[in-house]
Subunit: 207 residues, 2 copies
DNA sequence: AAAGTCGGCAAACGGTTGTTTACTGAATGA
DNA sequence: TCATTCAGTAAACAACCGTTTGCCGACTTT
């Protein structure tokens, strides 16, 4: 096989992917500050030096992981917002979606929860930035709902942030709980969402 | 000086304190998985071997730090709950207390936020256990308030967990924000608390 | 077919690490 | 006073670490 352009690039991408996957796997049980270049390359089946053909740094690799992790989360939030209003069913469905997401992307969620306040500045900032965009999107979705009529923009934004924060907390709780405690977490999360929604319905009545 | 019993113990406690303080200092900018025994002893002014006269492990030391960190937080929550009900002023005061606490115990708060989902199992579990006790205390405080009359115990508990989660999130946000963005964080936190409180007031009206 | 590009490798660099060992000397109790 | 305890030490251990170097050989372009 030769003279077919793109083989080189494809092989390189494959190694790159192997590095990213290996790192994500290791990060499920360790901190970013706890994994090393050698460890990652060992797991990926490369030589230590090979790492530097792809990333300058482990934190550079981690920033890529951040983007990938939140891309999948983004898809989820879009599905939630597509449905109508703050009704009872949409709450059940949201929590179920979060649970599914944690089951399917356990490593990504762990990584985000772990490094959100972790010791590596650039990674922390990347996560914060993505979460910000995330809240923007939620805010836009909320603003489009009838329940938000007459709401000041700032209030919509703070509600969005509250929802995002709650979603992250719920996802983290799912992570920690075994399949046994899953239902308990879900029930609590649903009730909390119902309470927040109650507050939302009566927000303009007072103050 | 001699023959005065207790000198030995006192000196040992002093070294122990030095180790704990050194570790806490280092943990302000690094992950627990990122600091080493040698690094801590160097900072504390001990020889590496000296560490093992006090702790078996770095994670054993960290668990002690967890307890110390939450002891100070405990004092804070007691002050908040001592005041009356979910009125407007108590919300302002709570957020102000959180801000103060972060200013005064920055290292402790950083440590908790960082290791809450960190890579060291025993530390994670210690933090989770303490946060649980914490929520218990908040729940007890809430149950004693008139606003909780007629509430099922489970609902009080979930409200307590929501408050605790929100408090932790707020504290973490204060950490990340420079003194400039502090007021923005505080304003958002206050509004969110007001919304939750609104939900609380109308909780029994529906559903 | 020849020349160039470049991803991956082995090896070496100087440095770090956690932990154990045998020891010293001051605080202790008899 | 004398024997004992024990916090702290220096030194050594083998095992790692991140990063750079020079090189090879398969892909790519001309």
């Amino acid at each position: 096989m030769s003279h077919t352009p793109g083989v080189r690039q494809a092989q390189k991408q494959q190694s790159r992917r192997a590095l990213l996957d290996a790192a994500l796997g290791l990060l499920e049980h360790q901190n970013l500050s706890g994994v090393g270049v050698r460890e990652v390359t060992r797991e990926a089946g490369l030589s230590p030096a090979g790492f530097y053909r792809h990333f300058r740094d482990l934190s550079e690799l981690a920033v890529v992981l951040v983007e990938e992790s939140l891309a999948s989360l983004h898809g989820m939030i879009r599905r939630v917002l597509a449905e109508q209003d703050g009704s009872e069913e949409i709450i059940d469905r949201s929590v179920e979606l979060i649970a599914d997401h944690v089951r399917e992307h356990r490593a990504h969620v762990r990584f985000l929860a772990r490094e959100r306040h972790g010791g590596v500045r650039p990674v922390r900032e990347a996560i914060a930035a993505e979460f910000g965009r995330f809240a923007d999107e939620v805010a836009a979705g909320l603003a489009a709902q009838p329940a938000s009529e007459g709401w000041p923009e700032a209030d919509v934004r703070m509600l969005a942030e509250l929802y995002v924060e709650h979603m992250v907390a719920t996802a983290a709780a799912f992570l920690e709980a075994g399949p046994a405690g899953e239902e308990r977490i879900a029930r609590t999360a649903r009730t909390q969402l119902r309470l927040i929604t109650t507050g939302r319905r009566h927000w303009l009545d007072e103050g």
